[in-house]
Amino acid sequence: MKRLLSHPSLVIGLAATLVFLALGLLSLAWTPYPIEQIDIPRRYLAPSAAHWLGTDNLGRDMLSLVMAGTWTSFLVAAVAVAIGVGVGVPLGLAAAAWGGAVEWLVLRLTDFVFAFPAVIVAILITTLLGPSAVNAIIAIGIFNIPVFARVARGGALSIATLDFVAAGRLAGLGNVLIAWRHLLPNIMSLIIVQGTIQMSLGILAEAGLSYIGLGTQPPETSLGLMLREAQQVFLIHPWLTLVPGLSIVLIVIALNIAGDGLRDAIDPRLRQGNSNVLA
């Protein structure tokens, strides 16, 4: 733990992420004003003591909206990462442990899913089920699956040749137990680092999908949806786009710095690699 905390970028990034996460969590219990409280006479107010970040086109408190929106962004990205890890990691481990036809199949499957950018998946699901935050989660989650499958396979392959894995095999462990006991624990750090990267990509993707109307729907709110609602008036009231936009940028920077720091702290050898190419 001490070793982890000696990396300044990790500490700064993690602290900033936690501040936003705390704001988001707080919004579940308390926001300065209820986010659904429409108050037309009080719309487009500049920041003041009563409304720290002003009010939007419906007179809602911007700070409350940002808090609630931050929570949605984190939630969508986190569940999407969980989907990616839950499906992708077992696939990657299976590919590494069995090899042969299993590996071929997993690789072709990941290639195939890579051909579907999240936006296209979201378009298909929206056509099928109508728009909602769940669509965004599924679309981003599907996009995450091949990423984690590749990372897990790559990591597991580099470990599979080590002596303790061979010892496990001699001891009569099958592929499942080898993967579970020996491969998985050793690739956890890789998965955690990739997880932070996918979190930040997920928050960006959620914003994009909600902005074009394929993600979160009112009366819920998200940072992307705030930008969508501000779109009509942003030439006259740019403040309404600056606040949620800057929040997204700060959260993503915080997550990226935390991810970089985590990568350096856990395994300095990974420093040169940059698999974050899918934005």
Partner: protein, 317 residues
């Protein structure tokens, strides 16, 4: 090499066919009868039945799927029943916005990103390196559509240099059309350029430590010459892979950025189609997008193998 290209092409074709199958199956699950939609609610059951027969809607699913595939191979994507026009024609019209936009964005990100990456690597650890990397770190965190809004505020509303949105067709006024694409392509290019700068820097720093650079130095080249002649070429390999992936996702990214600038591209077409439940149009447009993504990846793979012979031997990347 030919064998490698052939194998990659087969993979590409298989991906497309499976993708088409998935799209077809998903959209086939939906309730709703296109024939009923076209004729309206007042149509008699007999006329709906006649039209269904005419449109081939009563055929079994696999026949309709094969019919769709076969049609697409001949450039026939079916008829849009809300816009009453061939889907291929509608998509083709919109590609005139989406494709130039993606290409322009790619060009900008290469022209800006690569030199910055090289510069940062050459000045590693210096102030310039830090400045470029901090900018790149911020660049990847900025949603491209939000950056588009900021650009509009500054360059269209504030300075009035460029139009805030909308699009003049190419055949009416080519220059105006180009001007309309400048801000959107800058918005799309920012995150891509940032990623490229980072990848280029990492790749070049890696390469600088290689033996062949030392050999080149031993031959009497300065470090700058050695890196320029031998390093950059080798460092471009990982950059190339990422370029391919980036272009693929750029095409998808235009869908979002088109919204900021009210550009009549593929994205806008798809949204109208979703709202009006024009499934034939959604089907055609999504398969075109996937074609763009997979074709780019195929081209990247083949280019990569042309540039780096070591890769031809391996079947999986």
């Amino acid at each position: 090499m030919i064998l490698f290209a052939l194998r990659r092409f087969l993979g590409f074709a298989a991906t497309l066919i499976v993708a088409a199958l998935v799209i077809f199956w998903l959209l086939d699950l939906l309730p709703g009868d296109p024939a009923q939609f076209i004729l309206g609610i007042n149509a008699t059951p007999e006329s709906v039945a006649r039209l269904r027969l005419q449109m081939g809607l009563d055929a079994p699913a696999h026949e309709r799927f094969l019919g769709w595939l076969w049609g697409m191979l001949q450039g026939d994507f079916g008829q849009s029943y809300t816009q009453r026009a061939p889907v291929a024609e509608l998509i083709w019209g919109r590609l005139g916005v989406t494709l130039p936009l993606s290409v322009l964005a790619m060009v900008i990100s290469v022209v800006v990103g690569l030199p910055l990456g090289i510069l940062a690597a050459r000045r590693r650890g210096k102030l310039l390196d830090t400045a470029i990397m901090v900018t790149a770190q911020t660049g990847v965190a900025i949603p491209n559509f939000w950056f588009g809004m900021l650009l509009t505020l500054v360059f269209a509303v504030g300075l009035r240099w460029l139009p805030p949105g909308g699009f003049t067709p190419w055949n009416e006024d080519g220059w105006a059309a180009f001007r309309g694409l400048i801000l959107p392509s800058l918005a799309l290019a920012l995150p891509q350029a940032s990623i490229l700068a980072r990848v280029m820097r990492t790749a070049l720093v890696d390469v600088t430590g290689q033996d062949y650079i030392r050999t080149a130095r031993a031959k009497g080249l300065t470090m700058g010459e050695a890196v320029w002649r031998h390093g950059v070429r080798n460092a471009l390999l990982p950059v190339l892979t990422i370029l391919g992936l980036q272009f693929a996702y750029l095409v998808a990214g235009t869908i979002i950025v088109e919204n900021v600038f009210y550009l009549p591209g593929l994205g806008r077409l798809i949204f109208t189609a979703i709202l009006e439940r024009d499934l034939i149009l959604v089907r055609g447009a999504t398969i075109i997008l996937i074609l763009a993504v997979t074709a780019t990846m195929l081209l990247t793979d083949i280019t990569y193998a042309l540039v780096d012979p070591r890769l031809r031997e391996r079947s999986t990347p």
